[in-house]
């Protein structure tokens, strides 16, 4: 790892100030991607601004069916929240299958979505739920937030502070793990929300997480796994790599979507 300077932010304002004073710096949340990337010398931020010790951006708040999850909330807390599981079990299940138990104790929702790894789970969950991503300066819909491979709408120095969503009527998540890394080779999140049916796919798209309008229409008229049988999944925009080619992933997208609907609660 290249040399770096560590700063521990005490508040959101403090973090943003530290970031603007250190242009080549990076925000550090759980570090489950960033520290590994730095160890491989694929990233060399001059400064790290640690967000894990800002109480205001940690924790889960539920008011009626409105859910707010602080950006620095670890995956393990989301997975274990009984209050959240009572109204949106799919997001708890999703969080409980990220990485492994040790990674889930450190990794955070804000870090995951700001990184927007094309095989990460949370982007599918938040896009599927139609969540709102709140930053230090504005609110963005998930549709506008995730813009491409490791790309988001976040501006220079902007940090995620929380995500909010209304608990859906029903939602489910199914993922086909890469057996070595536990990243999604394909993961599909389906949700029946007040704004309609939403289906989001991770791990498969060559431009990162995406919605599948064909699945959404089919499920809107008939919420059942069988409704997806005749919907075509176009392989031309899917990833091909050593784990699976695009055609294989196209099939996985449909299989995972069906399982997600079947498991939805």
């Amino acid at each position: 790892m290249y040399a770096t300077s560590y700063h521990r932010a005490s508040s959101v304002e403090d973090a943003v100030k530290l970031k603007s004073a250190n242009e080549e710096g990076k925000y550090l949340s759980g570090g489950m991607t960033l520290i590994s990337t730095m160890k491989q010398r694929l990233a060399a931020p001059s400064d790290l601004i640690d967000l894990r010790h800002i109480p205001a951006i940690r924790g889960i708040r539920i008011e009626g069916r409105k859910v707010t999850i602080g950006a620095a909330t670890p995956h393990a807390d989301v997975a274990a929240s009984r209050e959240l599981a009572a109204i949106c079990p799919a997001i708890c299940k999703l969080a409980g299958h990220i990485g492994d138990p040790h990674v889930r104790h450190m990794g955070t929702i804000g870090g995951s979505i700001a990184n927007n790894d094309p095989a990460a789970d949370y982007p599918a969950g938040l896009l599927g739920l139609g969540a709102t991503i709140v930053t230090d300066r504005r609110s963005l819909s998930a549709d506008d937030f995730f813009t491409g491979l490791f790309e988001t709408a976040l501006e220079e120095g902007e940090m995620v502070t929380s995500v909010t969503f209304d608990a859906p009527e029903k939602a489910g998540y199914a993922k086909f793990n890469n057996p070595a890394s536990r990243f999604a080779m394909t993961g599909v999140f389906v949700a029946k929300t007040a704004g309609g049916v939403r289906v989001a796919v991770t791990g498969a798209g060559s431009s990162g997480v995406f919605r599948h309008p064909g699945f959404e229409q089919a499920l809107a008229s008939n919420w059942s796994p069988d409704a997806l049988s005749n919907v075509v999944v176009d392989a031309s925009n899917l990833m091909s790599d050593l784990h699976a080619n695009a055609e294989y992933r196209a099939n996985l997208v449909k299989v995972m979507a069906k399982r997600a609907v079947a498991s939805a609660g």
Binding site: M1, Y2, A3, T4, S5, Y6, L28, G31, M32, I35, S36, M38, K39, L48, D50, R52, A76, G99, D100, P101, H102, V103, H105, M106, A180, S181, R182
Partner: protein, 162 residues
């Protein structure tokens, strides 16, 4: 150089290190506690698992400065005076190790799992709980057996205490 202060196995400890120093290197080289191992160095194998503020974490993927101020338990902190921790005793009894390299991480993972889900563990949940730990010798079978036995033993202990 930055001063890092930790409570390790019940004792206040501190040392100076670069900001880029990994927690596992700090523990092994500055504090001299070499029971925590570095296996893969890529967050996959789990040989470096310790407890930070009561939760299992991979110390090869955390900077020592990130951990400063926290309470750490390493494999050296488990055993009582002259007596193995029930998980350690179960690994010995059920031959849950061969070369032993992954064992510190396996034991720390098992203790964390029992702390969180003790009394409800099954073969399936133990195997899921070991997702972040790799053993290249045992085929996991005896590790799973040892953890289930330790869980049962510790549950009996809890009942006896009540």
């Amino acid at each position: 150089m930055t001063k890092v202060t930790l409570t390790v196995n019940g004792r206040a400890m501190s040392g100076e290190c670069e900001d880029r120093t990994l927690l596992v290197h700090f523990i092994r080289e500055k504090l001299g506690l070499t029971g925590t191992h570095v296996g893969c160095d890529t967050t996959q194998c789990g040989a470096c698992v310790i407890h930070m503020d009561g939760l299992s974490v991979k110390s090869c993927s955390i900077l020592a400065v990130q951990a400063s101020g926290s309470t750490i338990t390493t494999i050296e902190g488990l055993a009582g005076q002259g007596e193995l921790h029930p998980v350690q005793a179960a690994f010995k009894e059920h031959h849950g190790l061969q070369c032993g390299f992954c064992t510190p991480g396996m034991v720390m993972t098992a203790v964390d799992l029992i702390n969180r889900e003790g009394g409800t563990l099954t073969e399936e949940t133990v195997r899921a709980g070991l997702e972040g730990n790799i053993c290249r010798c045992t085929g996991y079978h005896n590790i799973v057996k040892a953890i289930l036995a330790a869980d049962a033993e510790m549950a009996t202990g809890r009942q006896a205490a009540e």
